[in-house]
Every structure is written in C-alpha cells, then in structure tokens.
Amino acid sequence: MNNYLIYYKSEEQMKEWLKTLMQIVESQRVGLVSSFFPIIGNLSVIENILLPLTYHHKITYSEALDIVGKDLENFGLKDIMHFRNNQLNDYQKMIVKYLQVKYLRAEWIVFFSPRRMYIAEYEEKFHQFLRCEDLKKSVIIDHENHRHLFDDMQDYTEKDFDTWVTRDLKTSNSK
C-alpha cells in the first residue's frame, strides 16, 4: 500500500502545491478530493458521481447506475441521490466528491486539505471512512497544525510533497 501524509506549512505553499497538482491533472488521472473542487451545483448527487464515468466511458446512465449502486447503499446516498449540492451536509459532499474521483478510476486519490471540507463534528466519521475504504494509493495533504489529527493513521506514512510528485506521481502511467 502507498498511503502518504503530506503537510504544508503556509497558505502560499498550499496554493503552490494546488497549482502543481492542477498541472499534473492535465496529463495524468489524479483524483482530487478537496473543497477547492466542489461538486457541480446544477447536477444531482447521482449525476455528479456518474459524470466522470459517463464522460470517459461510452456507457448509458442505467449501466453506470448499476456500477455505482452498491456504493450508494454503503454510504447511505441512495435516498438522497436526486438531491443537489445545497441539500447535503459537509460529510455527504465529501463522500460524493470521493465517489466522483473513485469512478474517475484515478490511480492516486488525493485528499487535499480535508479539514476544510467539513466541520469538526465529522472528524471521526472521516477517520472511520479512511479505515473502512480500501485505498491502495492515497495521499492526505493538510496543514502541519493538523498533524495531531492523523497520529493514529497506521496505514499512512509521512512524505515530502516534492518527493511524492517526482518519485511516485511522475513514474505512474500517464492517462
């Protein structure tokens, strides 16, 4: 498993990393889960999740719905799959965003500044989500002040951003 924790020191550094990731996204399929990339407001939950799947693959909506059906049930999104962005809580928005990148079939999933995505009451839910999901290649990028929040993450090792970009990302297959 390649799961890493990367910490930034300042807002400037964070913005710089975000820019770097946006450039990488142009040539490589990297899934970014972040409040900087919100779910699309004029699409429903299900349309948001199916968007990458139906854009990158020539499959119908009903076929795509069969593929994501199990995840909708697991995350309790089945009853709210026709809701829009403004009807969801922060945690649900994060899950929709995660499913979006999961079905993008990205090699790496990056949780960029997750603490910005939800209020404190969802902290434990987020950790539970990380423990339950079988993430093979994921990265959590957060402010170093939030280091204590990830102390118990056994599957994650700390890494430097540049090392991860140059050694892990650039050696991955481009899309």
Binding site: V25, G41, P52, Y55, T60
Partner: protein, 258 residues
Amino acid sequence: MKRLIMALGQKAIASIQFFIGYFAFTVSFFKGCFNPHIFYPSVHLVFLRQVYFTGVQILPMFSVVSVAIGLTLVGGLTPFMVQFGAQDAVGSVLVTITIKHLAPLVTMVLLTLRSSTAVTAEISLMKMNGEIDTIKSLSINPFVYLYIPRIVSGIVCLSVLSVIFIYIAIIGGYLILSFNLNISFDFLIGTIFDAFTIDTLLAFFIKIALGGYFLMSIPIYTALETGNAVTEIPIALLRGMQRLFYAIIIVELVGTFI
C-alpha cells in the same frame, strides 16, 4: 483631450483583446468538435437539457409573439398590397421580410433575452464557485462537456424556432384574418413558394448558423472573463448582452448582403 484619447485607446485595446480571445475560443470550439467524448452520454444529457431550456420552455411565449407579428405582417401588409394591385408581389415581400429577416432576428432577440442571459449567469457562477476547475480536475474538457453542447443547442434551437416562427406568422396571421383578406390561402402559399430562391435559403441558413453560434458562445466567453467576486456577474451579464446585440447587427448586415 488627453483623457479622451486615453479612453479611446483603452477601448481599442479592450476590443482587440476581445477579438483575439474570442478567436482563440472559436478555434478551441472547432477543435473540441472533433473530440470523441462529444458522442458520450454525459455530453448528450447536457445538450438535451439545454435544448429543453432554450427551445421547448420558450414555446408558449414564442408562439404568442409569432402570432402577434404574423397578424401585423400578413394582416397589415397583405390587404394594403392587394388594395394597390400588387398582390403578385405579396409572396416576394413576405419571403424577404419573414424568412430572410424577421424570423432569425425575432428568434435571436427572444433567445438572447431568455437563454443567453441564463447561460452567462450559469457559467459565471460555475467559474466563481470553482466548478469549472472541478470539471478540469476530473480530466474533463470543459469545451466538450460545458460549452459545445450549449453552443450546438443554440444553433439547433434558433433554426427550429425560426422555422416555427415562419409557419406561425404566415399561417396563423392568415387564418386569424382570413375573413378580412381578399386572397385565398392557396394563392398566398403559392406566391410565397414562387418567390422562394436559393439566395433566400442561403441567407436564412447563414444567419441561423452565425446567429446560433453567437447566441451562446459570446455569453460563455464573456462569463469566462469574470473574476471571483459576485459583483462581477451582473457586469458580465451587461457586457455579454451588449456584445450580443452588436453581433445581432453583424448577422443582420451579413444577411442583407447575401
């Protein structure tokens, strides 16, 4: 005087920047048309939705406007021409006015007021909220997913609605005023078909294609110029509509010279 020259210079630079940017946008539009993802379900859905918002929801209001113009045109012009013995020219006058000029113009103005404004606001908001970055982060080309379906739907809706306008204006106008006209319906239709030329059809199609493209591309391009402040959205709307009305004048001029 110095101020005036500076203001004029600024305007000229802004116009040149707009034309260069808009040309690049047009090139990207044509490039995007060859992207294979254009035939995928997610893009179809955006296209169909836009056709519904632009071409279907407008139908009741559009029909009323078409009948009103039909009444004025057929009911007002035809008896006048018959009175002066120019009934043979009724067809060519109706073809020139309705098909070549009025149908594309009225449809474009109505679609501008209803759909172009909505598209400007929608794309501006998406840009402001970072949703366009979301689309890019999902390795989705915004041209293919967001802009091309809207622009193509603009062209499709403008053509279909213009044809509907012609039908409603001529037939509706005649039927409502048939009791008052001294010419038969057969004669009216026959004379219209006699006056139909390739030039008229060509002018109609060129105006539809150009107008349909401007109808959605100018609002989208203008919306993409907005920054991250909410206050920039009304400014984008205003600027977009201004540019679009200039574009309508250009389309009319092109039609006149064909």
